[in-house]
Assembly symmetry: C2
Homo-oligomer: 189 residues x 2
DNA sequence: GTCTATACGTCGATAGAC
DNA sequence: GTCTATCGACGTATAGAC
């Protein structure tokens, strides 16, 4: 239990909640200050700008941590299962908030970095066959696309579809880029 | 040649150019008015709001028109080839501008509609095997993911990679969801 | 029916006094 | 460190002139 919060912590906590709930544009510095119980000028003074406050608050790292490490035969399914597994809402909210703020160049750079750290770095040395780095980037693109439809535009069909079916179906498509066949069956099985 | 423009056309033209160049947030109503040579209040008077002006200006339709119609065996490759073919820059710019403005609920709804019209509608009745609609939506997700990396965060590797290689590689991953094997070879070939 | 002029309220950010 | 006061720019509304 945190009994007392520093001003900075209180601001960061309030900002995180508001940014996830109302987006970047929909959250004013004044609203963050009110929620944290501090003066609006303090928010800028502590974080430099609204943009930096947003970047300091949002965190995409660690959301696919272990999924790229296991056996390659089930990598496709494991990536989707990890995405849809425990903490699904937190992951989707974080991605949603980030992409909806991509009008900011710094936010876009952060997203590109996240792709690099989560997919290109871990997967490039592991993928067999030619063009491993390209395929690692395209696997990241596939995950981003699924996140787009589920978190950004919130396609009601994809949001409510059976996670196991989604895992098998989209996992097979990702597996096509891994280059190692999944013994459990074909894409449309 | 258009010799004279109505005020409304002049505003729309100026808005389209500025939105594509500087994004939604980065383009002020006053800047659009100045570029069009009219009073800022006129912009709102003609279009109702900056948000509606943006939606009236941007257009995603027709960008994948014929690609979903040809033979299923090469659908995956054809989708990527269409994306990267003539008009590539226009397509990427339009998608970029739209996604960077997804803080607006209307923009998100428009993106979801575009997915529906471009992929779900045409492809669902054509895909063989089970869960055709789900697979059509996931094909749309794959295309969105590639667009994300190329147009939104502008991954320099994907932007500059050989289009033919990208077409073959990512096309194979899409083909895994089509459910009809592509005779030209496997995903990693 | 256009268009101009002006103004309102809110925003992110800053300067300077406690 | 914190607050007060304020800045310039923003989206938008309106009243009234052509």
């Amino acid at each position: 239990m945190t009994v007392t919060l520093t001003t900075r912590e209180a601001i960061a906590r309030a900002a995180g909640a508001l940014f996830e709930q109302h987006g970047y544009t929909g959250t004013s510095v004044r609203a963050v200050a009110a929620e944290a119980g501090v003066d609006p000028a303090l928010v800028i003074r502590h974080f430099g700008s609204k943009e930096k406050l947003f970047l300091d608050t949002m965190d995409l790292q660690g959301h696919f941590g272990g999924a790229t490490l296991g056996p390659l035969e089930e990598l496709g399914e494991r990536l989707v299962a990890t995405l849809l597994g425990p903490g699904r809402d937190v992951r989707l909210s974080a991605y949603r908030a980030m992409v909806r703020a991509t009008d900011s160049e710094l936010v876009r750079a952060r997203l590109l970095d996240a792709l690099e750290e989560m997919f290109v770095g871990p997967l490039t040395p592991r993928l067999p066959g030619p063009h491993a780095e390209l395929r690692a980037r395209l696997i990241g693109a596939q995950v981003a696309g699924l996140l787009d439809q589920m978190a950004l535009v919130e396609d009601p069909v994809l949001v409510s579809v059976d996670p196991d079916l989604l895992t098998r179906t989209y996992g097979a498509a990702i597996q096509a880029l891994v280059g190692v066949p999944d013994p459990t069956g074909g894409p449309v099985s």
